[in-house]
């Protein structure tokens, strides 16, 4: 069959680790070189497949952390203690190793800045990864509307991309980044210190703007509290886009 005839289908591609960047004690960014990678849009994800020597296979989804850059694909992975795939990716995988991935996947949880409206982002834990891809993409746009990120984590040491997010906000008057630490705050902490609620969402994002698009990513309950909170403030439900993550896969 001609290759063009099967382009709609997903094929597994070999991805070689070319760089590993520690982000937090439990999180690493894995930079892959993927020959044949077709490119992707900010917010999209990939499926990763691992095959054991006995043929057993495990598959998980991971968001792409950086905008399209040729054959380079960056995944940021958090080690889940009872996980089947993430401990291998975070602790065992080394530069030069190869795994299989397929993608890009997704068209709903995607933002490329085309509509020019305000961008509102709400992240819970490693849910910040696809949102960081959007902010990294936005930083490269010639013209971008205002953006705000509210990022919830348990403790300061769990914040992924902290330095980069602060730098992006320092360099851009139209970008605001706010953090909340729900379990443990350092003594000099000036951010929020509680779980997200309507008051916090209202302070960070202001009164509802019908032109704004909001993306919420995190664990299921986090996403539902945030999305319900935004709709409760008057945001139109269809402009609040959600992505839940958890121990999926087969």
């Amino acid at each position: 069959m001609e290759r063009a005839a099967v382009l709609g289908r997903l094929t597994w591609l070999l991805a070689e680790v070319v760089e590993i960047l520690p982000e937090t004690p439990r999180v690493k960014s894995l930079v892959f070189s993927v020959p044949g990678w077709p490119g992707h849009r900010p917010g999209q994800h990939v499926d990763v497949r691992l095959t054991a020597e006995d043929g057993y296979q495990a598959q998980r989804s991971y968001s792409v952390a950086a905008p399209a850059d040729g054959e380079r694909v960056v995944l940021t992975v958090e080690r889940l203690e009872d996980g089947e795939v993430s401990p291998f990716l975070v602790d065992e995988l080394a530069v030069g190793d190869r795994i299989e991935l397929r993608g890009p996947i997704g068209g709903y949880f995607v933002w490329d800045g085309a509509d020019g409206g305000p961008l509102h982002l709400v992240a819970g834990g490693s849910g910040v990864v696809p949102l960081a891809a959007m902010l990294r993409h936005r930083a490269g746009l010639e013209q971008a509307g205002p953006a705000a990120l509210l990022y919830s984590a348990r403790a300061e040491g769990d914040l992924i991309y902290r330095e980069e997010l602060d730098r992006l906000a320092d360099e851009d008057d139209a970008l605001a980044v706010a953090y909340t630490l729900t379990r443990e705050q350092p003594p000099d902490w000036t951010g929020y210190d509680r779980r997200i609620d309507g008051e916090m969402l209202s302070e960070v994002f202001g009164s509802p703007d019908p032109a704004a698009t909001t993306f919420v990513c995190g664990p299921t309950r986090f996403v539902e509290v945030a999305a319900d909170g935004l709709v409760g403030l008057g945001y139109e439900a269809s402009r609040v886009r959600t992505e839940r993550f958890g121990p999926s896969g087969r």
Partner: protein, 90 residues
């Protein structure tokens, strides 16, 4: 692990849907045959830890689609969906 941790959404099934349909299905709008709610498939509730993948209506929780795999076969039961709306150029 609590059941809420196992509840995902249609984004998580994007790869499996594309494997079956050969198209990006998360932006396809599905009408629930039970309550009539119309949602993009990304917004449906998905339970992916079962022996198969189950899509439920985010409004009324009715089962919309079930996918079960065994070896080289896939069974897809779409009987909870009354209509799928696809982009013609997708």
């Amino acid at each position: 692990m609590e059941s809420a941790d196992l509840k995902l959404d249609g984004n998580a099934a994007g790869g499996e849907l594309r494997e079956i349909f050969g198209a990006e299905m998360t932006v396809v709008r599905a009408t629930c045959a039970a309550c009539g709610a119309v949602r993009e498939m990304a917004e449906l509730t998905v339970y992916a830890h079962a022996p198969g993948t189950v899509f439920r209506c985010a409004s009324c929780d009715a089962v919309l689609v079930r996918i079960v795999r065994a070896e080289s076969r896939v069974w897809l039961d779409p009987s909870g969906v009354s209509c799928l709306e696809l982009l013609a150029d997708a």
